[in-house]
């Protein structure tokens, strides 16, 4: 598969929402250890609203679909996660403007621009033990797949593995951002919860396409 239609992308986002919603207990458990325990609740709240919207509406373009979903996350969630995951959805919208379907290159550009927006807004970088550590791995993997003219199936499989690799890396990092930085050494050995959410998102992308 080398292009995705708006309808396919909508199914993909619905799958993402369902995966995040059922993963709330896992995300809450992880965030309780090295954070304030609100990540799972916030993500479930935000993606429940997205799921409800996706079940009712149809969209004319990928741009409208991702913009609407991102704005819903920002409106509904609040907290760090609302802005960051909302930015992931809307930060790269310029890569979709005027397009009826998306190629692997378009999608890789979209994720890459969103990743850059998150780095700028959150003033974060690789190694800070944040969701960015998983996202940057997935984003770079997608860009590499686009350069190699790989299919969506292969690109999402590799991006999913790259995100999981990023999650594993966060276990050996000390938190430098957010509430979890106050837990200092206690964060060692535990993955960043936001990074786990990113990994779930790419897992859902892969499962929808394959």
């Amino acid at each position: 598969m080398d292009h995705l239609t708006t309808e396919q992308l909508q199914k993909m986002l619905l799958k993402v929402s369902e995966k995040i919603i059922i993963s709330e207990p896992l995300l809450t458990e992880l965030d309780t250890i090295i954070g304030d325990g609100d990540h799972g609740f916030g993500m479930r709240t935000g993606f429940s609203a997205v799921a409800a919207q996706l079940s009712e509406k149809t969209y004319a373009s990928p741009y409208e679909l991702f913009k609407d979903s991102g704005m819903t996350l920002i409106r509904v969630m609040g907290g760090t996660s609302g802005v960051i995951f909302g930015t992931l959805f809307i930060g790269g919208l310029s890569a979709m403007e005027g397009k009826e379907t998306l190629s692997v290159q378009d999608f890789a550009d979209y994720i890459s621009l969103g990743t850059q927006s998150i780095a700028r807004r959150g003033r974060t970088a690789r190694g800070d033990k944040t969701m960015y550590d998983a996202l940057i791995e997935a984003s770079e993997s997608l860009l590499a797949s686009a350069s190699s003219k790989e299919s969506f199936e292969t690109a999402f499989q590799k991006a999913c593995e790259a995100a999981k690799y990023g999650v594993e890396n966060t276990k050996s990092m000390l938190s430098k951002k957010g509430r979890s930085k106050n837990f200092k050494d206690k964060t060692l050995g535990h993955p960043d919860t936001g990074a786990v959410s990113v990994s779930l998102i790419f897992e859902a992308f892969h499962e929808t396409i394959c």
Binding site: G37, I74, R75
Partner: protein, 321 residues
């Protein structure tokens, strides 16, 4: 934090309840998406407006800041454990439509910073200007050698809100008001004291999300010890200048007792008296902070540029500042 109210809607129901009880002072934003903002009524959109943003920590009580006419113009709470969304802030600002802009004051937590940052971008699309001032007064929240801008906020922002309102009422611009509040931010420190009554231990600096306290004292379980150690910590941190006077704020946590707050105020007054002049003290239940039994002490070193803006007592339904 434990509440009987549904945690999913607690901010909305609290704001709506306050607007219902105090219609002469307060309003909510009509047709609001999340309904989390409480506005001071009547709105004064011809001067800089002060927005208090409070996320996490479960402090819907923050809404009460708007019920007095000399504090925040808009108070926006998040859900029980998360900052309000950028959209909540933008929606309230758009409704009030202040021609002089908005100063957002909040504790230095990532969620609040990010949402205010995005709200400023959204507001700019409507021609509204905004600035933010994240308070970082929790002096034991990071090691002493670390930049104070990395500290969390506790309750020092109340002084920022009070002075900002007075400054805005005097006709100051957004930039002037923000500069005053930033100066107050740099000269304010707070410490939270929590108590283990079973083992007679005083803890200094426990975080509001349960982060361990960096200091504890085992055999000095008294109000006097709380006052002495708190003042030592705060004065060592702020190093008051000869032209400065102290403003002291005692807050009791959700479990802290009225009597202990005022006893601590008296003891702080006695200990400080010989070291630095006190301009004004306040004591009460301003914020829950934690379910633990506790009291916080905040010190502001006020100079001639700050002092005129802190003289008037502010009355709300919950407290006097």
């Amino acid at each position: 934090m434990i509440f009987l109210t549904d945690p999913n809607t607690i901010s909305r129901s609290c704001a709506e309840g306050m607007a219902c009880v105090y219609p002469e002072f307060t309003r909510t934003v009509p047709d609001s998406f999340n309904g989390r903002a409480l506005l001071h009524h009547p709105a004064e959109s011809d001067r800089v407006n002060i927005i208090v943003v409070a996320g996490g920590g479960g402090n819907p009580q923050t809404h009460s800041f708007v019920t007095g006419s000399d504090l925040a113009d808009i108070a926006i709470n998040g859900s029980l454990r998360a900052a309000p969304s950028a959209y909540d802030i933008y929606e309230a600002a758009r409704y009030v439509h202040s021609s002089k802009g908005y100063l957002m004051i909040f504790n230095n937590f990532m969620g609040d910073i990010l949402n205010c940052d995005m709200a400023i971008e959204l507001m700019a699309l409507d021609g509204l200007s905004g600035k933010m001032c994240p308070f970082h007064d929790d002096c034991l929240s990071v090691p002493q050698n670390e930049d104070r801008k990395n500290r969390a906020g506790l309750i020092g922002f109340l002084y920022g809100v009070k002075a900002a309102n007075a400054c805005a009422r005097a006709g100051a611009s957004l930039e002037e008001t923000a500069a005053l509040v930033e100066h107050i931010n740099e000269r304010t420190s707070s410490v939270l004291i929590t108590m283990d009554f079973d083992n007679k231990i005083l803890y200094f600096g426990e975080g509001i999300s349960g982060e361990p306290a960096p200091l504890s004292f085992k055999n000095e379980f008294s109000i006097e010890s709380c006052a002495k150690h708190a003042l030592d910590i705060l004065i060592d941190d702020l190093k008051p200048l000869p032209n400065e006077k102290l403003h002291i704020l005692i807050n009791r946590t959700s479990a802290g007792k009225f009597e202990d707050a005022y006893s601590l105020a008296k003891s702080v007054y006695d200990h400080a008296g010989s070291r630095i002049p006190i301009s004004r003290m306040s004591a009460g239940h301003y914020m829950f902070m934690t379910d633990s039994y506790g009291l916080s002490v905040t010190a502001l070193c006020s100079d001639e540029s700050i002092e005129p803006y802190l003289q008037k007592r502010c009355f709300t339904d919950s407290f006097i500042l």
